[in-house]
Symmetry: C2
Subunit: 221 residues, 2 copies
DNA sequence: TGTCACAATTTTGTATACAAAAAGAAAAGC
DNA sequence: GCTTTTCTTTTTGTATACAAAATTGTGACA
């Protein structure tokens, strides 16, 4: 086994630990790793061709962000939430997202407008071709673009964190091509309301978007 | 050196890594470890009588929470923010804390009322005796009690996280006994407005509390 | 004096080893 | 049959070793 600190045999720029963290995040985001699934250190180490040390670091960091939970029984698990907990998480997201929409609408620049539009275009394209993984990524970019438009990386980070945490649950509601198209369409309204630069409208619109998203998520879980 | 997984020679219930994390959090919260200060793995390992492994885990988790930053230059540092960044962080806190106050005022129970009152009593006591470290803890408890009163652990966690991040900066504004007394007094208004169970008033009151806190923090840094 | 090269040192990331704890399985008792 | 007890296996937490990278120090040379 290589002992190189930064194993670059496959052209990655990050350390092994960061790469594992990213890879797990991706798999959790797409729902490949579902809620409640157990992650065993040795298995992951073997899978990534690394030792337990970097795996451990990745798991520990993901647990610190609430994406994984450890220690309830034995092992580390993808966080699994009851309906009650899910409802609380969405309430929290509700608040953050509404704040993001409000602030974004107040600080909108030409750049952030075009970023949001570009992300939305990608959403529509992915939805029309029915490419689920691509849509998931595009949808993520769309919301990230709104967060970034606040000009406040700290709020943006919190919002992203909640998005990552709820990823595996939200992922389940995107099954058919129509699900993707419906989601993409619901973005349009939101965009209009944020671009209106009326912060109250923007905030209200995001709240209604989030409520709808929550209800669909509940149905799918 | 002992190889025991859970070194309990000094009657601690947690693993070494968690203990180190807690200890560092405490030192950062009180300002003993100031912003920008470097934390070297080997040194900490020696200090805690452990190896680099658990130190590394603690640092990594604290970094994942944004309390430490790593990799800018060499080493891990207590996060240090410019005025611009501090202002953005406080803007984010502003939103979260206002949401907390609003929700708390809507869901107030007898239990959470009494928890808030008890914490405030401890604040007043510590302020009057001019016990700075004790006041810092009591103040923390006071705000945590408000967060808990939302009944939503996820919002509460985000709010706590911001509180921890800004801890070393806010700590600097508590120097004299009068600082402590002034802070304790400002809690009274806030309590009244939250206990009024009018959510708009509660939210507005928290915003003004946060604005004041921000201005004082800026002055002290 | 400044700057470039290169050697010495420190710091990081990872691998591996191992002991304690926990979980699971098998055996003994009632 | 159902508990309890003891033995085995797995899993965790930590220590230690080591190589690659980064930093610092040092001296040659212009």
């Amino acid at each position: 086994m290589l002992k190189s600190a930064t194993n670059r045999i496959d052209g990655q720029k990050h350390s092994m630990a960061k790469r594992i963290e990213q890879a797990l995040l991706e798999e959790i985001g797409t729902g490949d790793l579902g809620p409640g699934q157990r992650l065993d250190e040795t298995g992951l180490a073997r899978r990534f061709g690394a030792s337990r040390t970097p795996v451990r670091e990745a798991l520990s960091r993901l647990a610190a962000q609430g994406i994984l939970v450890q220690g309830e029984k034995r092992g580390v698990f993808v966080a699994e939430y009851s309906r009650e907990e899910l409802s609380q998480i969405f309430e929290a997201m509700h608040e953050i997202e509404a704040a993001c929409a409000r602030i974004a609408s107040q600080r909108l620049t030409l750049l952030s407008r075009s970023e949001i539009e570009a992300a939305q275009a990608a959403c529509v394209a992915a939805a029309e071709s029915g490419d689920r993984p691509q849509y998931l990524r595009a949808n993520e970019s769309f919301h990230l673009a709104i967060y970034r438009a606040t000009g406040n990386p700290y709020i943006a980070e919190i919002a992203s964190e909640f998005r990552r945490r709820t990823g595996p649950f939200r992922a389940k509601k995107f099954e058919t091509r129509d699900d993707l198209l419906a989601s993409a369409r619901s973005h349009e309204e939101l965009i209009n309301d944020i671009f209106s630069e009326d912060s109250a409208t923007a905030s209200r619109s995001m709240r209604s978007h989030m409520t709808a998203s929550f209800l669909e998520t509940l149905k799918a879980n």
